[in-house]
Symmetry: C2
Subunit: 134 residues, 2 copies
């Protein structure tokens, strides 16, 4: 599985309509990509101070597909239309990265991973919540 | 829910041991944070050319927690130990961003989102896979 991460750089005077992004832009992408888009996720920077860490990105979305080919063939034909929608919610130009998903969800894949790599986890499942310094 | 994204900048001569990262570093974080870490995800940049997009980050992980407080109180006591492990797999210094999770998984939350915002999706569920230019 691959993940296309679309990351909008933060700046002090950044314009970004998070409601439009959630309610219009991502549904637009979803409707155009169809079944090739397994699912998407949306992240929104926390207010400065709440996190204690300055945010590099004002918002991000992550598009999950089975392969680069599945992404390109489903997104490509609508790329111009989708990019044309960006000015409706921000003045930023996103950074796009395509990654291989090494672990999609550690909780979901735990039983499977243990089966494949029996020595991967140091502790038996029932003891995971214990926190002991090394 | 919040997401702590740890992003390791890419560079032509970057050193990054993806196996160590998956098999040792993330399990270390998980064992220290305990139940406060709901789950994590790992991304690895695709080889140049495979994606057609230059990778900004050689690898990323995302730590999912219920709140900033849950993250800080579970990660904080082990921050020095965890950071001390970084040199075992890379020479890069990561960028850390804490985000609010607006949509965790669009496929998972779809029924729920439709219930909350009936007008959110333009098409009924059964027609989602149709791709029609606007």
């Amino acid at each position: 599985m691959i993940k296309v991460s679309v990351m909008y750089p933060n700046s002090p005077a950044v314009r970004f309509d998070h409601d439009y992004y959630r309610d219009k832009h991502l549904p637009l992408i979803k409707s155009r990509m169809g079944a090739a888009l397994k699912y998407y996720a949306i992240d929104k920077k926390l207010a400065e101070g709440a996190s204690g860490v300055p945010a590099a990105y004002v918002a991000m979305c992550h598009l999950l597909c089975d392969s680069v080919e599945a992404y390109q063939s489903s997104y490509g034909p609508y790329a111009q239309e989708i990019r044309g929608d960006i000015s409706n919610f921000t003045d930023q130009t996103p950074i796009v990265q395509i990654s291989e998903v090494v672990v999609e969800n550690s909780a979901k894949g735990e039983a499977e991973a243990l089966h494949r790599h029996p020595g991967l986890l140091a502790k038996p499942t029932g003891q995971e919540d214990r926190r002991q310094p090394a």
